[in-house]
């Protein structure tokens, strides 16, 4: 586990928060971004209270990164407005950059410098003295388990090490608001758990975080609020508990031998399901969210009685695909989502 003494280090490097964290939140109103004819993001409304975590959940191309780029002043919105730490991201972009830390999806560290020098350069650009930047950088390297590689060139780092250095870079300025675009993609399970712990400590000290993820588990564990994006539009907004209530519990997949048996299998499954089954006609799989307390053996018996040739039956937790199916089933069919 990473040591976290971030509040202390903020003081020691002289980059203390200049304003109370009460205005450290994020708002967005009708935020939209168009590239040519395509709206990458549309009608995004957000309200993130200081010291809380918002999870932006969605597939690749859902608009997560576009939202982050606008909120971090890297991209101009086509319509709507947003504030970060009480500052307008378009009009006060320079002031916003003083208050935020960003770890984007693409690695933004310099491969031809050591990890230590990368952090030192960023600290210097934050206005720290050379000594303070060096000290703060070394503390973060320690926290993110990179001390052994402090002097190695970043181009020799593994993907996971680069991710962690990116997170360290985003923390150099002691930000009020932290933006993390898929921070745990490419991390092994242990590093992922350590990073979650570290972020939880930062939130406890008052940092506001927006993180994007494709993993339901991550959003569930980290976020106080979740916004689900699909094709640039908000398809759901709520706490993890609310969202889970909407998408149901575990899923049961039944693979059948022939396409003609799909409907019959769904019929046999309906007694155990919370809502209508969905079909994957290519894989010959029927899927349905099942009620709490259902035993797989009872489902097997019911299928057998109905004379259905079930090849395989799997019980599993709901995935991001299931969330989208549940939330967007009127707009998309399963083929599109799994393509």
């Amino acid at each position: 586990m990473y040591e976290t003494s971030v509040q202390h280090t903020k003081d020691s490097t002289g980059t203390k928060r200049s304003t109370p964290p009460s205005d450290g939140g994020i708002t967005a109103t009708g935020l939209g971004k168009r590239f040519g004819d395509l709206w990458a993001l549309r009608n995004l409304d957000l309200r993130v209270e200081p010291g809380t975590v918002l999870g932006l959940l969605g597939h690749n191309g859902a608009g997560k990164t576009t939202a982050i780029r606008i909120l971090t002043t890297l991209s101009q919105p086509t319509e709507g407005s947003a504030t970060v730490a009480g500052l307008d991201v378009v009009r006060d972009s320079a002031a916003v950059r003083n208050r935020i830390g960003v770890a984007s999806q693409q690695s933004t560290v310099d491969g031809l410098m050591s990890g230590r020098l990368n952090l030192q350069t960023i600290g210097r650009l934050h206005g720290m003295s050379k000594a303070a930047a060096r000290q703060r950088g070394d503390e973060l390297l320690e926290q993110l388990d990179l001390t052994d590689f402090a002097t190695a060139l970043v181009k020799t780092y593994s993907g996971g090490m680069r991710r962690r250095l990116d997170v360290a870079a985003s923390l150099m300025g002691g930000p009020d608001v932290l933006f993390l675009d898929e921070p745990t993609t490419g991390l092994d399970p242990r590093s992922r758990g350590d990073l979650w712990q570290m972020l939880a400590d930062l939130v406890r000290e008052g940092t506001t975080i927006i993180l994007t993820t494709q993993y339901l588990e991550e959003a569930d564990r980290m976020a106080d609020d979740i916004v689900v994006l699909d094709h640039g539009e908000t398809v759901a907004h709520g706490t993890p508990a609310e969202l889970k209530a909407r998408i149901g519990d575990d899923r049961l997949d039944i693979k059948v031998a022939a396409a003609g048996e799909l409907v019959a299998a769904a019929g046999a499954l309906s007694a155990f399901a919370e809502s209508d089954a969905t079909f994957d006609t290519e894989q010959l799989v029927v899927t349905a969210p099942i009620k709490a307390g259902v035993r797989v053996i009872d489902v097997v018996r019911a299928l057998d009685e109905a004379g259905i040739d079930a090849v395989d039956i799997t019980r599993r937790e709901a995935t991001l695909d299931d969330v989208f199916l549940a939330l967007t089933s009127d707009r998309h069919n399963r083929e599109e989502l799994t393509a």
């Binding site: 971090t72 960003v102 984007s104 690695s107 031809l112 960023i122 650009l125």
Partner: protein, 264 residues
């Protein structure tokens, strides 16, 4: 605490120097290449090309100085194209630093490279027998002119690096641009040896004018003027005009292009 523009630029410049420390081969084109050119031209072509008064070696140095500084366009183009391709530019843009500091940092680091080039070329020139035959102040003016011209080239190089889509394209585009403008000139041969139409081109070409100005100020042999147009007839004045205009132009278009490229 906030940095001054100069401090920020120096932080960025130090980053470029660190890249050179890690990959010293990057310096080849500003160190070994000019040295090689002097030796090759002085001893391989030197016997074949005749110029009046002072000999080919004295004629050569002005040409190689300007040609090498013109080729130094590739360095800044390459490093900025690489930055833009990697994500590192987004990191700098999300930090509280001025946008212009990033480009100024590149400029400062590249200027050190060009200074090194000038020192190496003049040093090698002295070894093979090149001398100045002019008042001290003229020599100083020549050196200042070289620095302003080097600045113009670096800004144009930065602009080019932002313009191309990938670092791989820099070499291709660079050679296509720099080769003709340096060879359709008086750099290595006297103007009179060129075909008629190219003599006209070479007589207004900033490269020819700069070379003629440097040769004049150093007191080295100057290629006889064949086409009487203002720039080649007044090389020193025209060279200053060209250089200052190119610095301003390069600086403006590089900044504008950078803004456009990093705004979406």
């Amino acid at each position: 605490m906030s940095n001054t523009l100069l401090t920020e630029s120096r932080i960025f410049a130090r980053r470029n120097l660190e890249h050179i420390r890690q990959v010293p081969e990057k310096l080849t084109n500003v160190t070994i290449q000019p040295l090689m050119f002097v030796l090759l031209f002085a001893y391989v072509f030197g016997g074949a090309i005749k110029v009046g008064g002072g000999g080919y070696k004295e004629y050569l140095i002005g040409g190689i100085l300007i040609q090498t500084l013109a080729f130094a366009m590739m360095g800044p183009a390459m490093s900025i194209a690489t930055d833009l391709q990697e994500g590192v530019i987004d990191r700098f843009r999300s930090l509280p630093s001025r946008r212009s500091a990033y480009l100024l940092g590149h400029y400062m680091a590249e200027m050190l490279g060009s200074l090194l080039t000038i020192v190496i070329l003049l040093g090698t020139g002295l070894i093979v027998g090149w001398r100045t035959h002019a008042p001290f102040l003229h020599v100083v003016e020549a050196l200042l002119l070289l620095l302003v011209f080097a600045s113009a080239i670096i800004w144009i190089g930065l602009w080019m690096g932002i313009l191309v889509r990938s670092p791989d394209a820099v070499m291709g585009v660079g050679f296509v641009v720099v080769f003709p403008i340096t060879f359709i000139s008086n750099a290595f041969v006297p103007l009179e040896s060129l075909p008629n139409i190219l003599q006209w081109v070479a007589s207004v070409n900033p490269v020819s004018v700069l070379i003629a100005a440097v040769r004049t100020l150093f007191g080295n042999p100057v290629a006889p003027v064949t086409k009487h147009v203002w720039p080649i007839d007044h090389p020193v004045g025209a060279a200053w005009l060209y250089s200052v205009a190119l610095v301003v132009l390069g600086w403006v278009i590089a900044q504008r292009r950078y803004r456009a490229r990093t705004t979406d």
